[in-house]
Amino acid sequence: MGSRIPAPPGAIGRRPGQVDPGEGTWDNSFVDREIRIKAEPVDGSRCRFVVSEPLLEGARRFASPDEAAGSPLAVELFAVAGVREVLVSGATVTVTKDGPAPWQAVGKEIGAAIRRALAAGGPTVAAAPPASSASDESLYARVADLFEAEINPAVARHGGFVELVDVQDAVVMLRMGGGCQGCGMADVTLRQGIETALRQRVPEVAGIVDITDHAAGANPYVTASKK
């Protein structure tokens, strides 16, 4: 319980078109060799970008441009006006920005930045610092316990589960699955349920980032209709 998954964050670099997502992959472009990036705004300040190529084994969070050195992807993203934080996890980049500009507008710059980093051909994200801070280790264990004891039993009632991906700088990174993935009420579950529980039980948590690819959810608990 609560033990951190040892995920040595090996950096992975890929050239454009090297990975073919294959037949039946969700959200393919008909341009086969194109790097495909899918934007999924979480709210006004955060947006997930799901890339058709793996970026990093494990997860790494960049809280400022100072931390981006050696990670071309983070360097490119921080060069976009307003970008405040970058989280890379697997093939997903979660960007937090300041300012009111809508993601519909900023997203193109983000996409271009991701492509530039991938086109460079080398590792896109450097390995995370060898050891996270002790406080993150402690937070991870406490959050994992909370997920196991309370969060997942609750969402399991709706056929869902929530995976704790990592804790970096007191920010919790999670991924929703099963009935939660793509559910029309996933934001309500996240903000009114999970976030509240975290604030109460682990008040040191500074924020939550949902890195779920909700558009790929094939069995959401509830599906939106036009209203």
Partner: protein
């Protein structure tokens, strides 16, 4: 000073609107309670933040809201669609909060009651008659004015709305409508699922007006052109574009018509979404809703410029809570949204070309809201779009062209139904 204000937000579990409204509430310094028709996974654990009310029974829901508010005082109740607008009015009335009259929200929800109220007030509406579904369609067909439109009283998103140009087409349309109204989700509407309207078809371009009622006064937030002709036999909405390219005099006539309609129905507060047509005879009121624009379309609206710009949802929440509204003027840029037409009947396997569509200049986003494995049902039987395309630019023509180019990039891979 006392505790922070609490907002009671009524979100049906099937709404597209959850993320936009929750995010808007988070931007405000309020305590948020989301009430829905289904239990949240955390309802038991977070009863202050997640409530479950009986949305199917208004009086029960109002009592549930009152019981909740006794423990957690509520400053405003906000609904997000036609049904929750009624519930919000009933709850606000029960709680002694400012609200629309419940009867007005009911009239806005029911197409027949709305038609009657509008006609009685002299608002130009299509000629209409109501019929029972079990009346012999041949007799109704003989008396119908052609071209006409058959329209259910209780459904939304143009579901079940069919144009007929003669008796044979009318009987066919009646058969389809009877099938739709016999489906479980429609049948639960009770008496309203056993009657329908027959209206004269009003030719001419269609427009949508987004407005905010403040003490009975209509503030126009946006007027949208619908550049794709809506001439039937089904009425699938596609592109909304603002600002309107209609001449200013005609725009004023549409705005005045919408204001008269809201007053005729009795609405005084909160959002209105109005569908109108305009032809040589002037404006025609087609539909009025006591709700904001549906689906994800609100993402195309921004009010104010630069750092102080706010979303439609934030504007509506601020109004409901009595907070200052920094701007009700839409931004200067032209903006548009396409509700992606259902490409056919079948089970969705994949959508291709999304990235190419996003790359079209002027396009800001392509949101595919259908999920893999979802059954797509075209109109008149269906009521869900597979997604939305958003674009912004200097002038409406360019925005419209961008939307069409982006749509042309999309390829939907469907498996036959039952596959």
């Amino acid at each position: 000073m006392g505790a922070r204000a609490r907002l009671l937000l009524l979100l049906p579990s099937t709404t597209y609107r959850a993320a936009a409204f929750v995010e808007a509430a988070r931007r405000l310094d309020v305590d948020l309670t989301v009430a829905s028709d289904q239990d949240s996974a955390f309802s038991g654990r977070e009863p202050e933040r997640l409530a479950t009310f009986d949305f199917a029974h208004r009086d029960t829901a109002a009592e549930e809201a009152a019981a909740f508010a006794a423990a957690h005082p509520v400053a405003a109740v906000v609904g997000v669609d036609d049904d929750t607008a009624i519930l919000a009015a009933a709850m606000a009335e029960r709680l002694g909060l400012p609200h629309n009259p419940v009867a007005a929200t009911l009239a806005a929800r029911n197409k027949l009651e709305q038609r009657r109220a509008l006609a009685a007030a002299g608002v130009p509406v299509p000629a209409f008659a109501v019929h029972a579904l079990d009346e012999g369609p041949l007799a109704v067909a003989r008396a119908a004015p052609y071209p006409c439109v058959v329209k259910p009283l209780c459904l939304s998103a143009s579901r079940g709305v069919i144009r007929a140009d003669g008796p044979e087409a009318f009987v066919a349309a009646h058969g389809v409508l009877a099938e739709i109204l016999g489906s479980p989700d429609a049948a639960r509407r009770g008496e309203d699922s056993r009657r329908y309207l027959v209206e004269s078809f009003v030719p001419g371009p269609e427009f949508a007006l987004e407005g905010l009622l403040e003490a009975g006064r209509l503030r126009v937030l946006a007027l949208f052109d619908k550049p794709d002709p809506l001439d039937g036999p089904t009425f699938e909405e596609t592109i909304y574009l603002t600002p309107s390219r209609l001449d200013r005099t005609a725009q004023r006539a549409l705005e005045a018509c919408a204001a008269r309609a809201a007053a005729a129905v009795g609405l005084v507060s909160g959002p209105v979404h109005v569908e109108l047509r305009f032809n040589d005879a002037g404006p025609w009121l087609i539909e009025l809703g006591a709700r904001p624009i549906g689906g994800r379309c609100s993402a195309v609206l921004r009010f104010g410029e630069g750092a102080t710009a706010i979303s439609l949802e934030e504007l509506l929440l601020r109004h409901a809570l009595g907070l200052p509204v920094p701007a009700v003027e839409r931004e200067a840029a032209a903006a548009g949204v396409m509700m992606i037409p259902v490409p056919g009947a079948g089970v969705l396997r994949a959508v291709r070309g999304v990235e190419a569509a996003r790359a079209v200049p002027g396009v800001e986003d392509v949101a595919i809201t259908a999920h893999p494995g979802q059954r797509l049902v075209p109109l008149p039987r269906g009521d869900r779009y597979p997604g939305f395309i958003f674009a912004r630019g200097g002038e409406p023509a360019g925005v419209e062209a961008a939307l069409r180019r982006a749509h042309a990039c999309l390829r939907f891979d469907l498996a036959p139904q039952g596959d």
